[in-house]
Amino acid sequence: MLTVQRLPRDFQLFIMAVVLAAAALLWLFATEIRWQAWPELLMFMILITVTSTFPIPHPRGGYVTSTTTLMYVLLSVQEPASALLVAGCGYAIGHATSRGWVPWRTFFNGAQMGISVGLASLVFRQLGGSPHTPGVVSFLLPFTLASLVHQAANNFFVTSFFGRLRQTPWVRTWLVEFKDSLSSNLLTVPSAALLAILYVFVHPVTLLLYLISLPAQRWAIQLYLQQKQIYKQAIDSLVLAIDVNFPQGAGHSKRVADLAAALARKMRLPDPDVEAIELGGLLHDVGMIGLEEFFDPVNQLDLSVTERIRQHVLMGAEIAAELPRRDVSKIVLHHHENFDGSGYPQGLKGAQIPVGARIVAVAEAFESMLAGGFPYQDRSSSGEATDAIRRQIGQAFDPRVVDAFLALSTEETPSSRHGKGGL
C-alpha cells in the first residue's frame, strides 16, 4: 500500500492542488446550492455511494460502475455546485468503503469526481440544456456534450495521477484512455437521459426502479464471464489433446495462439478481431488430424503426400466454419498463403490475405522453428528464428506483422493498463 511519505514530491503537490481546488470551488459557490432540495440530494448521495461500492464487471474485462449513469442524471437535474458536493462526497464514501480508507486517496477521488461532474453540469447549463424541455437540441445534445466533458475531465485526473506515479507520458495515455472509454460512455447516455426525464416528469423516486435492475445485470455478467472462462478452458484442453499427435508436439497450437494474439494486440486491432485471431491460431492445424502417419520418419514426403498436407487447410477451414464467427475459418484457410502470392491454397497476395492469417503465419513459423518440427528439421534458437523471419519480409510475411513481431521480441515487460473511473 502506498503511503504519503514515500510518494514523489510533485505527486503530493498534484494531489493537494486537486483537493484544494475542489474545496475552493465549493466554498465560492456554496450559496448556489439549493439546500431546500435536501431530500433529493441525500438520495443521490446514497445511490452514488451504494453503486460505487458494488462495481459491475465489464464483459470486455475490467469493472464499470453504474455510478456514471447516476452522475449524468445528477448533473442535468441539479445545480453545478450541488452536483459537485453530492458527487464528490458520495463517490469518496463509496470508494473508501469498497477499497479501504486511505485518507489522501479518498480525498483525491472525491475531489476529482466532484470537479468533473460540476464542470460537466456547468457546460450543460451553458449550452442551454434542460430536462424540462426534452428535445434533441434542447436536451440530448447538451447532455451528450456534458457527458463527454465529464469523461475527459475524469480521464485527465486519473491518467495524470498514474502518469506522475509511473513516470509515463500522460498526454498520450489520456487520449488513448479517452478513446477507449468513449463508446461505453456514449452507451450510458440514453439510459441516463431517460432517467433524467422520468425524474423531472414523473418523480425522483423512479431512480430507485433503475437501481433494482442492477443486481440482475451484475449476476448475468458474472455468470457470463465465468462461463466464458470455463469454455476457454474446455477448448484449450481439447486442443491440447489433439495437439499430442502433431510433429511440433503438445502445446504448439496454444503457443501459436498466444503469440498471434500478442501480435494482434501489438498492431492495435480491435478486441473482437484479437479474439478471432487467437481462436484461429488455436485451430490453424485442426485439419492435420488424421494425417499423423505422414509425419512418420519412415515415410518419405512424395508428391501425393505433400498434396494431402496442403489439403489440411481446406479441411480445417470447413471444420472451423462450425463456429458462428466466419473470420476464424478464413484464418485457418489462408494461414499458408505467402505475402508475395506464392503460398497455398489460393495464392492470395498482400492485403487480399486476411490480416489474421498473415499474423498466424508469422506466429506459426516462429513457433515451429523453435520446436524444430515439420517442416523445419532442426530446432532453432529464438535469435536464429527471428533472423529467419526477418529475412522473409515481403516474401512469406507481411512487413507490418514482422515489425510488430520484432517490436514485441525486443520489448521486456509490457506495461499494464489501468481501468476507468477511480484509482
Partner: protein, 408 residues
C-alpha cells in the same frame, strides 16, 4: 397435432397477418408516429435471448403493447409480425419459412388481445380511450396466450413436456412479457399526457432496456458458441475416420430427443447432449491406421481400439464443463447384456446416458452415407436396432426410438 400441421398453421397465420397489415396500411395510411414504432422493431428484434431448454425472448412486447394502446390495431399486428421476422431472418439466420412460423406465433397473441377488448375491427385509435383496467386485461390476454403458444410449440417441436417448459422457459417468458408490457403501459400513459415528450422518451427507453438486457444476450450467445465449438472438436476427431461432416451434431439431436421422451430431468439431458457430441473424442489417442483399417483387427489392434471410451473420459474428466458427461462417454460401448467394453456393465448398471448415446449413434450411423456403403432407410435402421434390442441395446430406449422415429 403433428409437427407439420402446427408449422403450417403458424406460417399461414403469419402470412395472413402480413397481408392484413399491407391492406390496412394502404387503406388507413401510415402516420409518422406509427413509423417511429415500426422503426423501433429493429433494435428490439436484435436483442434475442435464447432460453433453455427451448424458446427465445426479445424486447418486442414493449413496442407491441405501446402500439396496442397508442396506434390503430394494424400497427400492433405489424410490429409483432415484423419484429418476429426481422429477428429470425437477420439476427438468428433462419430460413424464411421458420421466420413466418415465428411471425404467426407472435401475432396470434396480439390478435387475441385485440379481439378480447373488441378493438379488432372498430377502433382506429387503439386502446388509449379505454380505461386502464381494459388495457391491463388486454395485456393479460396477450401474455397468457404467448406463453401457452410457446409451450405448445416446444412440446410439439422439441418434445419438451408442457410442465417442464412452464417451470423453466415459460416462467421467464411470462415474467419478461409482463414486465415489458407494464413498462409499455407506463410509457403510453406518459405519451398520452405529454404528447411529443412521450415519443421522445420511447426510443430512449428501448435503448435503456437493451442495455440492461444485453448481459443476458451475451450469456445465451455464449451457450450456442459452446455447442458449436464442441461439435467442431467432434468433427476434427472425425477426420481420423471416414469424414462424415455433421454426423456428431445429428446424433446429439437424436439423443436429446430420446432423453426427453424418456422423461429425464433437463440437467441429465444437458449431460447427454455434451456426451453425444463428444463420445468419440477418445479416438484421438488411437492410431488412424487402426481406425481406418478395412479388414478385421488383430487382438492388439482391437485392444487399442477398445481403449477409446476410456481415453475420451480421461480427456474430459479434468475439464470442469465436461466432467459430468465423462462417465457417459466412458460407458458408451457397454452392451445391455454385459458383452460390451470397457467394464462389461450389464442392464441398468450402465448409465442411462450411455445407453441412449449408443442407440442414437447407431441409428444415425446406419441412416447416413458412409464411404463403404450407402445410407439405409429409417425403417431398415429400426429393424437392425430391434434385432439387437436386449443384446446390444436397451429395449426401453429402442422402443422409445420407435415411438418418435416419425418426427426425427
Amino acid at each position: 397435432m403433428g409437427k407439420r400441421s402446427l408449422s403450417l398453421v403458424l406460417s399461414l397465420f403469419g402470412g395472413a397477418a402480413l397481408v392484413y397489415v399491407a391492406v390496412a396500411a394502404a387503406v388507413v395510411g401510415v402516420a409518422g408516429r406509427n413509423l417511429l414504432l415500426l422503426t423501433l422493431v429493429l433494435p428490439t428484434a436484435w436483442l434475442r435471448v435464447n432460453l433453455e431448454p427451448a424458446g427465445h425472448l426479445t424486447l418486442a412486447p414493449a413496442v407491441v403493447i405501446t402500439a396496442l394502446v397508442l396506434a390503430p390495431p394494424y400497427v400492433s399486428v405489424a410490429v409483432a409480425a415484423f419484429s418476429a421476422i426481422v429477428s429470425a431472418v437477420l439476427f438468428a439466420r433462419m430460413p424464411l419459412k421458420r421466420a413466418l412460423e415465428d411471425a404467426g406465433e407472435d401475432t396470434i397473441p396480439i390478435v387475441l388481445a385485440l379481439a378480447s377488448t373488441g378493438a379488432l375491427l372498430s377502433l382506429p385509435e387503439g386502446l388509449a380511450s379505454r380505461g386502464f383496467g381494459q388495457q391491463l386485461f388486454a395485456v393479460l390476454v396477450y401474455v397468457l396466450s404467448r406463453v401457452v403458444l410457446a409451450a405448445i410449440r416446444a412440446s410439439i417441436f422439441d418434445g419438451i413436456e408442457i410442465k417442464t417448459f412452464l417451470s423453466s422457459s415459460g416462467r421467464v417468458l411470462a415474467s419478461n412479457a409482463m414486465l415489458l408490457s407494464l413498462v409499455a403501459l407506463g410509457l403510453s400513459r406518459l405519451t398520452n399526457i405529454y404528447g411529443n415528450t412521450g415519443y421522445f422518451v420511447l426510443p430512449l427507453a428501448i435503448i435503456a432496456l437493451i442495455e440492461s438486457y444485453h448481459p443476458f444476450k451475451l450469456l445465451s450467445d455464449q451457450r450456442s458458441v459452446l455447442f458449436a465449438s464442441l461439435s467442431m472438436v467432434a468433427q476434427a476427431i472425425d477426420l481420423k475416420d471416414a469424414y462424415t461432416g455433421k454426423h456428431a451434431r445429428d446424433a446429439s439431436d437424436i439423443a436429446v430427443r430420446l432423453a426427453r421422451s424418456l422423461r429425464l430431468a433437463e440437467s441429465e439431458v444437458r449431460k447427454i447432449r455434451i456426451a453425444a457430441i463428444l463420445h468419440d473424442i477418445g479416438k484421438i489417442g488411437v492410431s488412424g491406421r487402426i481406425i481406418r483399417k478395412p479388414s478385421a483387427l488383430n487382438s492388439e489392434e482391437m485392444y487399442a481400439m477398445r481403449q477409446h471410451p476410456v481415453i475420451g473420459a480421461e480427456i474430459m474428466q479434468p475439464v470442469e464443463l465436461l466432467t459430468e458427461a465423462a462417465e457417459i462417454v466412458r460407458h458408451h460401448h457397454e452392451h445391455y447384456d454385459g458383452s460390451g467394453y470397457p467394464s462389461g456393465l450389464e442392464g441398468d448398471a450402465i448409465p442411462i446416458g450411455s445407453r441412449i448415446v449408443l442407440v442414437a449413434d447407431a441409428f444415425n450411423a446406419i441412416t447416413t452415407d458412409r464411404p463403404y456403403r450407402k445410407a439405409r432407410s429409417k425403417n431398415e435402421a429400426l429393424g437392425v436396432l430391434r434385432e439387437y434390442s436386449g443384446k446390444q441395446f436397451d429395449p426401453k430406449v429402442v422402443a422409445t426410438l420407435e415411438a418418435i422415429v416419425a418426427i426425427l
